[in-house]
């Protein structure tokens, strides 16, 4: 086991560096894509008693693709010229990446300047350096990036008292649904003014908590974004954290271990390898256990109901048209099914998948359930207060907000639930 004994003796960060890991803003399957998003905010917010004037603000910045590619190629010993050439070969543009990088850094500068001119103490923190100490220090945290950065920032804020604000630093490239409206990116002083004067509402987003127990569990998470995960690096990182963890190989956690992370969008459970089926047992709201085989399981919040869960469950017009046509032919009635009608039904169906960020329920979806003699699926999706999952997987993970991954293999049990303490305090500047 020559290779592995070498690896074990190295400090974790050196190993990860050896593997060429750096930072990158990895795109998520999370795309909050509905226009009704803002209208649902009205149910979820509350008026502040006075203005909000933080003394200390941490600004957490994303890693641009330009920075990421630079780090990666510098590590490999390649020059800037080599990088340009390689990118060109792939059909990517070096100058394009530089441009997006410049846009982002200019917007960060704008935010920081605006804060400092209000006499606020600012600490600029790269995503890789962002930790609990930064959260403790800050009175408020600003995420300067896209939705992915916002999810990461939120993930380390466990208290419902610490406000988090997202600013979209590249509106042309990021959807930024978890961020302030795009106009504040270039007019941040306006946003600050509203905050100071109390012209805003608090928006309390309900989040999900996770307990893990059973054998084969490793409660040390792996950051998918920070560590530029390829498939290999993902499991390698899981494996390293397991090896570095001291203890009996037959160690079993006798009581559930509450993980120090809260999910703002969703928990995804499934085999790490995208082409492999996931096996597990599931119990919803303490109901009977069901053995299932599928492409994985998603459990989302109201905030997350517009993200990956939405993409799992939404229907294309093509599918809705087919269902309606079959339905029509089965009734034998002459029901007019024109393009507008189909669009309307599709739209209403997809909207019904979305619920309010402050809703105290979670929504589970089984992705591509495989139903046969051995496996069943009583409900493909639904609301719940509690979902328990027992892994029967070979090399699976539990992924929080598309960004943090926990090993979740055969024998491990996850309990997914909500608690009022887990709300995230964000702001709503719409009037």
């Amino acid at each position: 086991m020559g290779v592995w004994s070498l690896v074990v003796r190295m400090p974790r960060r050196s190993v990860l560096n050896l593997l060429g890991l750096g930072t990158r803003a990895v795109s998520l399957l999370n795309g909050n894509s509905l226009q009704t998003f803002h209208s649902s905010l009205k149910h979820a917010s509350s008026l502040p008693k006075a203005g909000f004037k933080p003394e200390k603000v941490a600004v957490v910045t994303k890693t641009t693709r330009y920075e990421f590619e630079q780090q990666r190629y510098q590590y490999a010993g390649l020059s800037e010229e080599d990088l340009k050439h390689l990118l060109a070969l792939k059909g990517s543009s070096y100058s394009g990446l530089q441009e997006r990088h410049k846009i982002h850094t200019n917007n960060v500068e704008h935010i920081v300047k605006s804060l400092r001119s209000e006499g606020i103490e600012v600490r600029i923190v790269k995503r890789g350096e962002y930790d609990e100490e930064v959260v403790r220090w800050a009175d408020a945290i600003i995420s300067a990036g896209g939705d992915g950065t916002m999810l990461l920032v939120a993930s380390k804020v466990l208290s419902k008292d610490k406000p988090v604000v997202g600013v979209n630093t590249d509106p042309e490239r990021s959807e930024g649904h978890l961020c302030l409206p795009v106009r504040y990116t270039h007019a941040f002083p306006e946003a600050l003014k509203k905050l100071c004067c109390g012209e805003f509402r608090w928006l309390w987003r309900q989040r999900i908590r996770l307990h893990l127990e059973g054998t084969g569990i490793n409660p040390t998470p792996v950051d998918l974004h920070e560590q530029q995960m390829s498939l290999e690096q993902h499991s390698q990182a899981h494996r390293i954290t397991t090896m570095l963890r001291k203890g009996n190989p037959y160690e079993s956690f006798s009581k559930p271990n509450l993980l120090p992370i809260r999910s703002l969008n969703e928990i995804f459970i499934g085999e790490s390898l995208s082409s492999r089926a996931s096996y597990y047992e599931i119990s919803v709201d303490d109901g009977p256990w069901e053995k299932q085989k599928s492409s994985g399981l998603s459990i989302c919040t109201g905030t997350g109901s517009k993200a990956w869960s939405y993409n799992i469950n939404k229907l294309a017009e093509q599918a809705v048209e087919e269902v309606l046509n079959i339905g029509k032919s089965q009734t034998g009635l002459d029901i007019p099914l024109n393009r507008d009608f189909i669009e309307k039904v599709t739209d209403l169906y997809n909207k019904s998948l979305v619920f309010s960020p402050d809703d105290r329920r979670m929504f589970f979806s089984i992705r591509e359930p495989i139903v046969n003699r051995v496996f069943s699926s009583s409900r493909q999706r639904g609301f719940a207060s509690k979902v328990s999952v027992r892994s029967r997987c070979w090399d699976a993970c539990m992924v929080v907000d598309g960004g943090t991954s926990f090993e979740f293999n055969d024998g491990a049990i996850a309990t997914i639930s909500l608690s009022e303490e887990d709300q995230l305090r964000t702001v709503d500047l719409e009037n």
Copy 2:
């Protein structure tokens, strides 16, 4: 880069052994799950002119989970007792695994005995030893396992003249839709008799072929089953094959490279890490290129239309009921939507996803398309004769029949098509 220089100097098999790789029958997302399967066979077969009497038959056997766990634990230096204990901790049963293993080996013995008593020369080949030489030697090949084994066996048969027959060696655990009906597992001499007497039909299953070109491609495949792939091992294996391949790092294939593999079920293209979004460009039947972001792309044959593609596209009654209810409310008509009606519509919808194994078309499906300002999706699925895909992925793969994986990263271009030469010759024993 100490670790890697060590790795490069080792022969590939040693490296893979070092990583603790052995064999395992890994479950696929391929579950051919429709009852109409057999009825569709009638369109696809043709009567033989005379009986079929092979002189030399290769019997390719699956690796049972029992064998797999043994190899894995022996490699780790654990005893049989340790193995029992570990399995029990995970809630698995050692004696259960032994039992399934015994059932499989007994059924293989039955097949081999039956063949030999007809004077046929038999070569028993483990899946790990199965290669082109075996295919050349044999007049016919029997797959003794489940659907996964059948897919592997078929993948190395490039000629449409070499018959392949699947026998399900554990009917209680495997669906075996690509195998002979279950009764022949215990009465194989009956099947042999029918073959010899010509009381059967040939079933020609159309398969898919793949061309690869562009930068960042590695035409050396990785066998997901043979190599007990965890996520890490999957990409590590890709990486090793890249390093072992000689040549200029900027090497680009100037003309498309036809891969020596044919897909019986489907090609899946997407990021290897299940939680990461896939970026690519797609052109259907030489149409305009479209930039897309999704959970991946599936392109299947008629055979595969009952497998993973079916699971991607099928609708649960729950969803159909919702669509019909919304449709009903939009018409304002009083249309009765009872349980039977909904079941019927769901069933017809799902059946419409299936097409004949000898159909000369492929069916593409975009899994969880993400539609926003940047990405569009004109059609979520449809038939095609040719599909071209350009990768914009970070760490993606092209997976053939859930079992063989090719690296498919940024810049690589895959062309997926059908050719009459690519049919697989199988048998239909139903009268």
